[in-house]
Symmetry: C2
Subunit: 406 residues, 2 copies
């Protein structure tokens, strides 16, 4: 039997990172390739206690079918929380021309995919930061949309480059952004740039998909308002999740979007999985209302502050000075750039032979075949010892490579 796949899916390859995961069974391998939260960031004891209580008192509801848009008490709690923490949901209070609604999705990934699904036709261009999250790029590709990366500076996407891309293809509907501690670059978009990009979107009828999975993981510097909090016209879909603060494996994320977009996304979700795991939606609600979520988030911030500092120190000790390294104020990643002419794919393969897994920057590009000299390091998953040992191995490898070039 010869299978004829759909045009959208025929050429799509699995995420390179998730393929790397599968090769990590070697116990000697040190992995800086994951995007996993630290195991100690999940409040397992409290979740266990709450789960027992749900089984004891609400099991009939928790095990039964639910509403596509999500468990109503969780949606209500999230609405309050998003207003308090992220400035989202002001539209009603301000008397804007639109109402926002909150929907539960099966992890942030589903929010991204649904946003693109309800907006994009096959052949449509989707704009994003270059480099950006592979999961979003692949979601766009899986719909037949064509990712186009926009030049991104230290303080975020270049508004001039955005205008140029929109001039080149005025039919573009969607711009995907990770304004806080971007994946993979670790960069944060400045307030000034957030304002300018929102202004461009409003002027041009562009939808911004603001992906904020790391927004709560700020461990240095000052919070910057979300783009969504400044939107008065209904141009922004905000997407985030509990994956980095309660559990990644439970697949509970959330989206806040103007009602017409939300309704359409809910219809799409109905076709994909009917609703998200209801038991864990109830668990999130209980945790939000009965435990100290904000205190727990402060604990996670402290973990990552320490781990990021440790990896940065080890890099300063071991890497040649020619390697540029980002200084993130939050999130899970450092991004390293080798001198021009170095090849990230080749370096990642060499690192793998030294039993250290890193992700080559090509993975995060709208054009992965384009040469790239950057690679991503994750500091949330490895142990302190592994950070020290792995960075030392990488440093040795980098010194050897650069020396050879001289």
């Amino acid at each position: 039997m010869e299978y004829r796949f759909s045009e959208n899916m025929a050429a799509l390859k699995p995420s390179a990172i998730r393929e790397i995961f599968k090769s990590l069974s070697d116990p000697d391998m040190i992995s800086f390739a994951a995007g996993n939260p630290a195991a100690e960031s999940f409040p397992a004891q409290e979740l266990s206690r709450l789960a027992a209580d749900i089984f004891a008192h609400e099991s009939a509801a928790a095990l039964q079918y639910g509403i596509t848009e999500g468990y109503a008490p969780l949606r209500a709690a999230l609405s309050e929380w998003l207003l308090a923490r992220r400035g989202i949901g002001k539209s009603r209070a301000r008397g804007d021309a639109f109402d926002d609604e909150v929907m539960i999705v099966s992890g942030g990934q589903q929010g991204i995919e649904l946003a693109a699904r309800v907006l994009c036709n096959r052949g449509d261009t989707v704009l994003s930061e270059e480099p950006t999250f592979i999961g979003a790029l692949n979601a766009f590709r899986s719909l037949g949309a064509i990712p186009c990366g926009i030049e991104t500076e230290e303080d975020g996407l270049s508004p001039a480059a955005l205008e140029a891309a929109l001039d080149a293809d005025p039919r573009v509907k969607l711009l995907y952004l990770i304004p806080n501690f971007q994946n993979p670059s670790g960069r944060t978009m400045s307030l000034e740039k957030r304002r300018r990009v929102l202004e461009i979107a409003q002027r041009r009828g562009l939808i911004i998909l603001e992906d904020d999975p790391y927004g709560e993981l700020r461990f240095a510097g000052k919070d910057i308002p979300t783009i969504k909090s400044m939107d008065t016209e209904g141009n922004v879909i905000y997407c985030s999740s509990f994956s980095k603060i309660l559990s990644a494996g439970m697949r509970v994320g959330f989206v806040s979007a103007p009602a017409p977009l939300m309704t359409k996304m809910a219809t799409g979700k109905q076709c994909e999985d009917v609703h998200s795991n209801l038991f864990f939606q109830m668990l999130c609600y209980r945790y939000m209302t009965e435990c100290d979520l904000d205190g727990h988030i402060r604990d996670i911030q402290a973990i990552y502050r320490r781990k990021c500092a440790l990896m940065s120190e080890e890099i300063a000790r071991h890497f040649p000075a020619e390697i540029e390294v980002t200084h993130p104020e939050g999130g899970l990643f450092l991004y390293c750039t080798m001198p021009k002419g170095e090849d990230a794919l080749d370096f990642a393969a060499a690192a793998m032979r030294e039993k250290v897994a890193v992700v080559p920057g090509n993975t995060f590009s709208a054009w992965p075949e384009k040469p790239c000299c950057s690679f991503r390091l994750n500091y949330s998953t490895p142990t302190d010892d592994n950070i020290k040992e792995g960075i030392a191995r990488l440093g040795k490898l980098l010194r050897a490579r650069l020396a050879r070039k001289e």
Copy 2:
């Protein structure tokens, strides 16, 4: 802001049934509209005990990211179970030209959607029984595919009508079937027809998506081999779930398909939700290996045998003789057909005014605007008293309507 939706999603409406759900908050309403399993069919106590154990001993793994294809021990347990219970997975043993693989999905719905997603382009026709499951129809529509219902007889889809449809559009790739206790009709496809339809698929290079959510819910008659169990060429994707036997709300389903199809579906799943709730995958594994799943299934069969018999008796007592009613040997539904000229939409609206919710047959049609005189009744969710009272109300209404026509 005026939103321009994708062509695939612009016209798609939410499932009529899930919309009915939302209007069921009236406590006097008797609902025969759901497709919910009986609450007593979920083994809450055992799940609670196993969940506590997972929290105590495996919480780090259970709360962390997992593999897209699913929790490996669960996939292995399911492979064995599918071979023992559904005759699936013989290909390797038989030396067929293909290998089957098992993947975990977020409920059967995701299996259906992914199968169509990897095969169908916008504008492609997807064939199915007429009537059929609305969730599948909407999944096809959400991809821009066009459902086409094939005439279905008491013993299943008409092979002659299938051949005619394939002659009319030889590019068709996908045929969607629910061979056991079909939703909504309750009909079961005969062995003879399963063989003939598989032969047609193999001769014409057609993929059969065999959806079997109710396969284990047989409470009368003899099991009939799955189409998948007879497939020697790799033409069948088999899809089912734990929704009707352990919990619907947890959203854990599974797919068995030839490896090339499975690989592509896993790539699609990665784009949709990365993986399914890992904690509940571990819970299903523990239940399958530590509890008496087959015994539990026998208990559920007994519940539905009794409830189906009760509703059938009440119908015999209260409905006019002109109403045709199916006699299912399993599953959750009875399907009733009024005399020609009666309108199911009008009847469902009238029933709603009498505070009984039924689903008009139009909902399950590839062409929902076509007049229809059938409606679906669910017997798994309502209490015995509600079955008695609700059927009496419907009987009174039907008698009045038919009398008026005479």
